[in-house]
């Protein structure tokens, strides 16, 4: 992938995430108003495909966005760059997507 494509991916996912994060924060405030347990939250969200789609998109965007930001930080602050770093970051993206989608699947 070219630097331009990575740059575009980072900006596009940022645009997607901006409203999603706000809704997500609002949802947290609402959800924890009665104390917070996974069971309790799941009992309220389970089976709702709209929330599943919402968090599916959220997870995928975050999985693309976060490693790209980390890539710039590693490059600028620690001088780490090159294929090896990119490979590790792809794995990191896969890890984020995997963990996130597992949680989304639990909702369905």
């Amino acid at each position: 992938m070219t630097e331009a494509a990575l740059y575009a991916a980072q900006r596009v996912t940022a645009m997607i995430l901006a409203p999603l994060v706000l809704i997500h924060l609002g949802l947290i405030l609402y959800a924890v108003s009665d104390g917070l347990t996974a069971d309790e939250i799941l009992s309220r969200t389970r089976g709702n495909m709209a929330w599943a789609a919402f968090y599916g998109l959220f997870v995928l965007s975050a999985a693309v966005h976060a490693p790209l930001g980390l890539r710039n930080i590693l490059r600028e602050w620690l001088g780490l760059r090159g294929r090896m770093v990119d490979c590790v970051l792809v794995l990191f993206a896969a890890l984020l997507a995997g963990l996130g989608l597992r949680a989304v699947l639990a909702v369905i």
Partner: protein, 264 residues
């Protein structure tokens, strides 16, 4: 008609009969000295003069206090771009920087070489990397015709020509390069001046190698590394806006990557 009245002085004119600097006034100037990475500070007492520039101060020190002081200048009028130094922590063109503007109430003046470039000696920084990146960014003009061909006719109102106009007056002083934190962090980053140059070229209808220039500025360490925080704009003595040009390069590279633009 009245005769014999002397012309009245215009009250908006400064009173040139009084010096703006008291006679016999001295300034303590700290100068960074050393070869290569070594660095020590030396203090000099320099007489204050009217309309004195920072370059005047450095020149006074070299001529009157220490002839071994190394620094660089040529035109003394803000054209050649060779006199840039770090003045009280900020990169500036010293020939057009008045002492009275920078010493503040504390009346302190510290002069160091430009940041982000290796020091050769004292106040002279090694500009090689700065100019090499100019080339790495595809900053060399390639004509479509030779000198016998007809002159290109460029509409002064065309958007391309206007974009070129906005960035073309760069004097290669490296003030922006010295002000840019991304240059500090990432040794491969091409920097504001080289990218600004590339932006004027990809907007120049006569440039035959726009594609190559775009390819070079889109590689790692190119335009996408810019944080758009505008330190280059803040410090550019000519008032250029490299950040805007770099944003233009980013936009163009993304459009070209996804084939959304017919521009070559």
């Amino acid at each position: 008609m009245e005769t014999g009245t002397a012309p009245q002085p215009d009250s908006t004119e400064p009173d040139r009969t009084k010096p703006d600097v008291p006679l016999g006034d001295y300034l303590t100037v700290r100068v960074s000295r050393g070869k290569g990475p070594e660095n020590r500070y030396e203090e000099f007492q320099v007489p204050r003069r009217e309309n004195q520039t920072v370059l005047d101060i450095v020149t006074w020190i070299q001529r009157n206090a220490d002839p071994a002081l190394s620094y660089r200048f040529a035109c003394r009028v803000g054209v050649c771009g060779s006199c840039a130094m770090t003045v009280n922590g900020k990169p500036r063109w010293t020939c057009r920087t008045h002492v009275s503007k920078v010493i503040g109430k504390e009346r302190s003046l510290t002069i160091e070489p430009l940041r982000n470039l290796p020091r050769i000696k004292d106040l002279a920084a090694d500009m090689s990397a700065f100019f090499e990146k100019w080339q790495q960014a595809g900053g060399r003009f390639a004509g479509k015709t030779d000198r016998t061909g007809p002159l290109a006719r460029i509409d002064p109102e065309s958007p391309g020509r206007k974009a070129v106009d906005a960035g073309i007056e760069c004097i290669n002083c490296a003030v922006c390069y010295s002000a840019c934190d991304v240059v500090t962090w990432d040794e491969d980053y091409l920097g504001p001046a080289a990218l600004n140059r590339a932006w004027t070229l990809v907007n120049d209808e006569r440039h035959a190698e726009k594609r190559e220039t775009m390819k070079k500025v889109s590689a790692a360490g190119g335009c996408h590394s810019c944080h758009s925080h505008g330190s280059c704009v803040e410090h550019c003595p000519i008032g250029l806006n490299p950040t805007a040009g770099i944003a233009g390069l980013k936009r163009r590279s993304v459009l070209q990557t996804f084939r959304l633009s017919g521009e070559k």
